[in-house]
């Protein structure tokens, strides 16, 4: 049976989330009440019968490692295969590779050892709940060299500016990859490639002093390669800025979006926290909010997202805000258009207010 190995390439994802990415990489940023960005792509892979997943990451990966643990929460704590965090280098003085090509170059044996002939590559910024079986089948049936997962957004948003846009012919063969502002046919960053071709392209890129596998190996060779597209039409979001992060979180408070993302596809696997169900006390007044477990709420919460273990005391008010794990909002505190990183305490009576266009972000473990 033809199978795929997985690769989550974080090398070219910038630490775009300011305070939220001071001490963690973007892939490890909390999202939607109980997840981290990487959970979506990792779950999709795990549910697509991909049992061998490598992650390319250079720095600030400890919170990622903490989150992933042995991989057991994604059923990836395997004796054969499993989850591999691959470092970029080897202290090899003869190594001339650059960018993400260093990872490919220095972990060549990882790819060779794997039994799969195909590699599914993804970043962490495309949020969806799906499985990749049909994408893979499409790739095999079309006999493509590379197949890109693409989608279309009715409304182009600022976060789509940075995406590669796709033009295809009637059969789905890709004719152009460019940063066209008005093209709503977006490459999601997810693609399938034959392993042997991948390694050949890597060698080519390194020999020519390149530094970006997708841009230099695939996009630049679009004429020589048979690149297919496979269209994904489920719910999805792209998160690559504070603005898109804030907006796409709050977008899930609309019932339809919530159900489309979480109840149409597969369940998103994440680190199990073993929190108790959330406890609503006498004075709690919660509306249009996403609330994780382990919270104890005696205040007012509106149009907001509470992560695990948040405490909202009597008389506190939270509006249009994202409050991460174990924050403690003391009585009388008022938050509006705010993002609190985890373990923040907002003391009694304190008021914080950001703008809808620019939420006020508080770094973790602060007491204000």
């Amino acid at each position: 049976m033809d199978t795929m190995m997985g690769l989550i390439n974080l090398e070219h994802e910038h630490d775009f989330l300011n305070e939220l990415t001071y001490f963690r990489c973007g892939a490890a940023v909390p999202f939607a009440g109980r997840f981290r960005l990487i959970d979506f792509t990792l779950s999709n892979m795990a549910k697509s019968d991909i049992h061998e997943i490598a992650i390319f990451t250079r720095s600030k990966y400890r919170s990622l490692m903490d989150h992933l643990g042995s991989g057991s929460d994604w059923d990836l704590d395997r004796r054969h295969g499993g989850l591999f965090i691959l470092p970029p280098d080897w202290n090899d003085p003869t190594d001339i590779s650059k960018g993400d090509l260093r990872y490919f170059h220095n972990n060549r044996d990882y790819f060779l050892r794997g039994k799969s002939d195909y590699v599914l590559i993804s970043g962490s910024q495309f949020i969806s709940t799906t499985v990749y079986h049909e994408l893979f089948q499409h790739h095999l049936t079309k006999g493509a060299d590379v197949t890109l997962l693409t989608t279309t957004y009715d409304q182009l948003l600022p976060e789509h500016d940075a995406c590669v846009k796709v033009k295809t012919d009637a059969d789905g063969w890709v004719s152009s990859l460019a940063n066209e502002p008005k093209n709503s046919h977006v490459f999601t960053g997810v693609y399938v490639i034959r392993k042997s071709l991948l390694l050949d392209l890597v060698d080519d890129c390194i020999a020519n002093y390149k530094n970006h596998f997708f841009m230099d190996g695939i996009k630049a060779n679009l004429n020589q390669l048979n690149v297919q597209s496979y269209h994904y039409d489920g719910y999805s979001a792209i998160i690559n800025s504070i603005d898109s992060y804030y907006r796409q979180n709050l977008a899930l408070l609309e019932t339809d979006a919530y159900k489309d993302l979480f109840f149409k596809g597969e369940h998103v696997l994440t680190k199990i926290g073993n929190q108790a169900p959330t406890k609503y006390l006498e004075k709690s007044k919660v509306s249009k909010s996403l609330v994780a477990t382990g919270c104890v709420i005696d205040g007012e919460v509106d149009n907001s997202i509470l992560f695990r273990g948040v405490k909202v005391s009597e008389g506190a008010v939270i509006k249009n805000s994202i409050v991460m794990q174990r924050c403690n909002i003391e009585s009388g505190a008022v938050l509006e258009n705010v993002i609190l990183d985890k373990d923040v305490t907002i003391t009694r009576g304190q008021e914080l207010k950001g703008a809808k266009e620019q939420p006020f972000v508080v770094a973790k473990r602060r007491k204000i």
Partner: protein, 380 residues
């Protein structure tokens, strides 16, 4: 491989008095507290007390229970050389399965499992109580007293003593008498069904007891009285804290209402004594604009558009607009339509309650347990 202490968790209870809640699942597998099964409390106590060698004895309707326990991952009991082992009756006999005759018989039939670890001590617990307890403290107490057996006890109100097995002790808690449900109690120390034995000592008693045809092969009825008669050193260990036998519909409901209290000794939010369970990875709950939620526990995957008061929602429950849920317990996957009114109701897994349904029990009535079957009768 030698282990100091082996734990045997008796999870074979039928739970007849829980009625409809146990028609298809064993009592230890009954959902509890918004995200748990009753047995999670005992299993989590094992993990938190570092009791890593656990045999779980099942017999009645074990499919759901086995599926829930699996290989023990949530409790970190999926270990190489010990961890959790599910012991079904046929482990023990070559001639087909037999029900266990009593609590002691259940241990006797699994001696070969215990002997594999050659333990000094055997801890016996049951899978159908709600409590947090550090079994390691019990074990240390047992060792300090150099006891042959130690029984965990709870002070119960004097008027309730007749419902329990009562231990009569000297001032230093040495047990000189065991009375099952005494009419004239001399003590209010009730046995919690939690024992530590010196395994070699117990083994002898079990072997002797197995030969007695008139024995019920039960710890309380036979083994402990025999040990007391032989003047062995049996001590009581005083447990302090919340402990509840959820053996009836009423007590099951009461225990849930207890959880809504703010000053309960047992806290599900206690990060030093977590209760572990499976997690189906539902997304966080969505509380809609029209919702009103107070005095309630709500788990992941719920979507609430109605009013909740003094209620517990397990995962993936939906409450539509205009509905009011009071003093009720809704098991996983329950769907409540529009303008429904429920009061003092326990709704079982995946039931769909149609629009405009009204079901309520009065304060002095037993809670109403809804199943797919009786729902039709009630609503038609």
């Amino acid at each position: 491989m030698k282990k100091e202490c082996v734990t045997m968790l008796l999870a074979g209870g039928v739970g007849k008095r829980l009625g409809a809640l146990t028609t298809s699942v064993a009592k230890p597998a009954v959902p509890f507290g918004g995200r748990y099964r009753i047995i999670d409390f005992a299993l989590s106590n094992c993990l938190n007390s570092r009791m890593y060698t656990v045999g779980v004895l099942t017999q009645y309707s074990p499919l759901d229970l086995h599926q829930h326990i699996g290989v023990g991952k949530p409790w970190d009991l999926d270990r190489m050389n010990d961890g959790l082992t599910i012991l079904s009756p046929p482990f023990t006999v070559q001639t087909g399965g037999n029900w266990y005759l009593g609590t002691a018989d259940a241990i006797t039939k699994n001696m070969n499992f215990i002997d594999r670890y050659d333990p000094e001590y055997l801890l016996v617990i049951s899978g159908d109580h709600i409590y947090h307890m550090d079994y390691d403290k019990l074990l240390r107490h047992h060792k300090e007293k150099q006891a042959d057996a130690t029984i965990s006890v709870l002070e119960v109100p004097w008027k309730e003593t007749s419902r329990f097995g009562i231990l009569n002790t000297t001032d230093d808690l040495r047990i000189y008498e065991f009375e099952e449900k005494p009419a004239q109690p001399k003590s209010n120390l009730a046995s919690m069904g939690i024992y530590i034995f010196n395994w070699k000592v117990l083994r002898d008693y079990l072997e002797k007891d197995a030969l007695l045809s008139e024995s019920e092969h039960d710890f309380g009825q036979n083994i402990l009285p025999a040990m007391i008669a032989d003047n062995l050193k049996l001590y009581a260990y005083r447990f302090q804290g919340y402990w509840k036998d959820v053996g009836t519909i009423e007590s099951y409901w009461e225990a849930h209402m207890d959880l809504l209290k703010e000053d309960l000794e047992l806290s599900l939010n206690n990060t030093n004594w977590r209760t572990y369970s499976h997690d189906s990875n539902f997304p966080p709950q969505l509380i809609e604009e029209t919702a009103s939620v107070a005095h309630s526990l709500v788990n992941n995957g719920c979507v609430v558009s109605g009013t909740l008061n003094h209620s517990i929602l397990f995962e993936n429950v939906r409450i539509d607009k205009g509905s009011t849920i009071k003093q009720s317990i809704l098991h996983p996957g329950v769907r409540v339509g529009k303008n429904v009114y429920l009061e003092k109701v326990i709704a079982q897994e995946n039931i769909f309650i149609p629009d405009n349904t009204r079901i309520s029990a009065s304060m002095d009535q037993e809670p109403i347990v809804l199943s797919q079957e009786n729902l039709k009768a009630i609503t038609s």
